[in-house]
C-alpha cells in the first residue's frame, strides 16, 4: 500500500489532478452553504461582464450569477459522473466476470449482448433513452450507464479469462469454495487495477456526455448544469463570451483532472509498467 502511494503520487500531474478534483468536490458540496439562494435566482442585469460589482464571473442572459451557476453545475456533473460510473462498473463487472469465469455458451451469449450495445451509435441510443424516460437526473444516469458498461465488461472478461486458469483458482475449486466466493474473493481482487483505471477515466467521459445531453436540452430541467448553461447561452456567445467559455472551461478542467488521476492510477497499478 505504501509502495502504491509512493508510485501514485510520484507524478506531478497526478498531484495536480488530485488537488483540482478535491477543490471541485469541496465547492460542490459546500454550494448550498455558500449560496443559499440557489442558481436560478436573478441577481442583476443580464450579460454583465466578469468583474462587475458582486459578480466575479458576470451574469448570464437572464441576469443570473454565473459563479453560482458554475458551482451548482459542479454538483450535477460530479453526481452524474460518479453515479453513472458506479452503475456502469457494477453491470460491467458482473457480466464480464460471469462471462469470463464460466466461458463457453454463457460467454458466447453475454458477449453477443455486449456487442449489441457496442454496435449501436452510443449517443443516439442515449438520446432516445433519455427522451423516452423523460429528461431527469435519474434518466441521465441510467442512460449513460447503459451505453458505457460494455467497455467495462470487456476489460473484466479479459482479466477473468486470464486469471481463471491460474493455479490458485484451481486450488480454490478443489478446496470446495463456491463459484461466487471464487469470483469475488479470489479473482476480482486480482482484476481490480484495470477496473479502477477504466472507472476513473469513465467519470470524465460521463461528465462530457452529460454536458452534451444538457446542451441539447435533454438534461434535468430543474437543475443547472454546465452543459445546460452553455446550451442556454449559445445565442449570446458573440456578445458575452463568458457565458459559454466559463462553463466550457469548468468541464475541461474537471475532465482533465480526472484523466490525470486515471493516468496516475494506471501508472501505479498496471504491472506492465512496473520496473
Amino acid at each position: 500500500m505504501k509502495d502504491f502511494l509512493v508510485r501514485f503520487l510520484a507524478r506531478p500531474q497526478t498531484l495536480i489532478g488530485l488537488l483540482v478534483f478535491a477543490a471541485i468536490v469541496v465547492l460542490a458540496l459546500g454550494a448550498p452553504l455558500l449560496f443559499p439562494r440557489g442558481p436560478f435566482t436573478i441577481v442583476g442585469m443580464p450579460l454583465l461582464a466578469p468583474g462587475s460589482p458582486g459578480l466575479p464571473a458576470g451574469s448570464d442572459v437572464l441576469g443570473r450569477d454565473m459563479l453560482v451557476g458554475l458551482i451548482y453545475g459542479a454538483r450535477v456533473s460530479l453526481l452524474v459522473g460518479i453515479a453513472s460510473t458506479c452503475c456502469s462498473v457494477g453491470i460491467g463487472v458482473l457480466l464480464g466476470a460471469v462471462a469470463g469465469y464460466y466461458g463457453g455458451a454463457v460467454d458466447d451469449v453475454l458477449m453477443r449482448i455486449t456487442e449489441f450495445f457496442q454496435i449501436i451509435p452510443a449517443f443516439v441510443l442515449l438520446m432516445v433513452l433519455v427522451a423516452f424516460l423523460q429528461p431527469s437526473l435519474f434518466s441521465t444516469v441510467v442512460g449513460i450507464a447503459l451505453i458505457t458498461w460494455p467497455q467495462v465488461a470487456r476489460v473484466v472478461r479479459g482479466e477473468f479469462l486470464a486469471l481463471r486458469s491460474r493455479e490458485f483458482v484451481q486450488a480454490a475449486k478443489l478446496l470446495g469454495e463456491s463459484d461466487l466466493y471464487i469470483i469475488f474473493r479470489q479473482i476480482l481482487p486480482n482484476a481490480l487495477p484495470p477496473i479502477v483505471v477504466v472507472g476513473s477515466m469513465m467519470v470524465g467521459s460521463a461528465i462530457l456526455t452529460e454536458s452534451a445531453l444538457s446542451f441539447l436540452g435533454l438534461g434535468d430541467p430543474n437543475l443547472r448544469s454546465w452543459g445546460s448553461m452553455i446550451g442556454a447561452s449559445r445565442s449570446a456567445m458573440w456578445v458575452a463570451w463568458w457565458t459559454t467559455v466559463l462553463p466550457g472551461l469548468a468541464i475541461m478542467v474537471t475532465v482533465l483532472a480526472l484523466n490525470f488521476i486515471g493516468d496516475g492510477l494506471n501508472e501505479a497499478l498496471s504491472p506492465r509498467r512496473r520496473r
Binding site: 463457453g104 455458451a105 458466447d108 491460474r166 493455479e167 490458485f168 484451481q170 486450488a171 480454490a172 475449486k173 478443489l174 478446496l175 470446495g176 469454495e177 463456491s178 466466493y181 479470489q186 481482487p189 486480482n190 520496473r275
Partner: protein
Amino acid sequence: MTALVAIAGLSVALPPGGDRPYAVRDVSLEIGTSEIVCIVGESGSGKSVTAHALMGLLPRGLDAAGGSIRFDGREILGQPAQDWRRMRGAEIAMIFQDPMAALNPVVPVGRQITEQIRAHRSIGEAAAMQQAGDLMVQMGLEAAHLHAFPHQLSGGQRQRVMIAMALSLSPRLLIADEPTTALDVTTQAQILDLIRTVQKERQMSVLFITHDFGVVSDLADRVAVMRAGEVVESGPVRQVLDDPRHPYTRALIAAVPRLSGSPDPLPPHAPVLAVTGLSKVYRRGGGFLGLGARRETRALDKVSLTLQRGETLGIVGESGSGKSTLARCIIRLADVDDGEILFDGADLAKMNGRGLRACRKRIQMVFQDPFSSLNPRHTVSEIVTAGPRAHGEGAKEALARAAEMLALVGLEASALPRYPHEFSGGQRQRIGLARALMLKPDVLIADEPVSALDVTVQAQVLELLDRVRAHMNLAMLFITHDMRVAARICHRVMVMRQGRVVEEGPAATLFAAPKSDYTSQLLAAIPGQSRLEA
C-alpha cells in the same frame, strides 16, 4: 592454450535496497580457445548476469562496478555501444532458454537468420538465404524449414534455429543460457549433442550456463560453481565433480537425486483409488455456441491405475504425454469422456455438485508453479484456512490447526499474517502443501511440485512430501517429467506417452531394467549418468 576470454575481478553492483550489494562480486573466469566452460549455480547465483556482462547486455540499473573483461586480449568492458554492436553476433553469439520468446513470431525463421547475416555482411538476400539453408541442414533441420514460422516448429527445432542463427556469422564464442532447460529430456540430449558437434567442428569456445550437474558432467571441459554472486569453486570438470573442495559444491552434487535406491513397493492392499479405462479428448474450435467444425486431440487413451494408502505412484512422461491431464481428470478439474474413477467405491467420473464437493475434499492437489498457485492478494492464513472454512469449520479452530500444519511443513506460525510474495519458491510450495493437507485428504496429487525449484530446495521438498505421506498414511500420485525425482520418492512408476501407459512397475525394477524401448530411451537421455550414478 591461450584464453579467448579472460574475466578478472568482475563486480556488478545491484541498485541500493536489494538483498545484497552486488549481483556478482569479484568473478574471475577464463575461457580458452575451443573450450566448453560451464557456469553452474542455483537461481540468483549471478550466472546469467556474468553472461550478460560478457555480451555487454547488462540490464538498465546494473552496472559493472569494477574488474575487466578481455576478449582476445582486448579490453571490452565499457567499450562504446557501436563496438559492442559490431562484436555481438559476429564474435560472441548467444542462445537463450526460451527460443519461442527469442524468435519473432510473425517472421519466417529463414528471414530472421538472413537479417542477422546481412546486418554484418554486405551480401544479397538470395546468397544469405543460401547460407541460412546450409546452416539449417547442418543443424539437422531441412532447408524447407526456412519458410516456417516459429509456432510451426517444435521446441527442439526452434532451439536448433536459434543455434543456426547464433552460428551464422561464425562467432568465436557461443554463450548458451540454460538452452535445454525448457526441453524434454530426449530433445535435450539431441541439442547437447548438436552443441558438442558444432563446437568441435568450428573450434569454437562455449560458455554454457546451467543449473543441472548432469549437463555439466556430459558437456563441460571446465566448470565454475557460483553462489550468491561469487565463484566458490572452479576447475577441470573431472576434478570439481569427482573431488569437490567447497562444501557448497558437495551439497549441490549430493542433492542431485540418483536413479537407484528407490523405495521398495508396498505389500498389496485394497486400493483407495482405482482408475479404469480413462479417456479424454480435447476439442478445439467450434465457433459460436459450438456450431462450427472442431479439431480433436486424444489426450488420454484408456488409462488405468490403482493407488493404495501409504503408497507413492509416479506418473512419468515428456510434455504432451497426458500426465497432467490425467491428474486434472481424476480430480475432475477437467471433464472425463469415458472410464471409471473409483474412489473408496464411488465413481468420481459420474459425480456432480455436492457429492463431488464432498469427495474432492478427500483428494487434494499440490501445484507446479509456486508463484501462481497462491493468490497474491490473500495472506497465508487466509490461504491455508480457505478449505476448512469452505467446509464449514469455525475460523478459530481452522486458524489453530493452520499453525500446527505450518509447523508440520516446516514453517513458523509467524508466516500466517504475511503475503505469498514475502516467501521463496520452496516456502511457497510448503504453504501450498499445508493448504492441501488442511482438509485431511486421503489422496494427494502432486503435479510437478518440485520442477520449478532449485536442486537443494527440491531435495528438501521431496523429503517433506515423503515424510508427510508416511505421517498421514497418504496415497500420493506424483507427476513429474524428471526420472531422477521419480526414482527418489516413488514406490511404483507408470511411464506415459501420447496419452497412453507405456509401462508400469515397481520403481526400482523399472529404472534398473526397463521393459519398453521408450523407457530405455528416456533413461539413456538423462545427462551425466556415468559420473553421477557412480
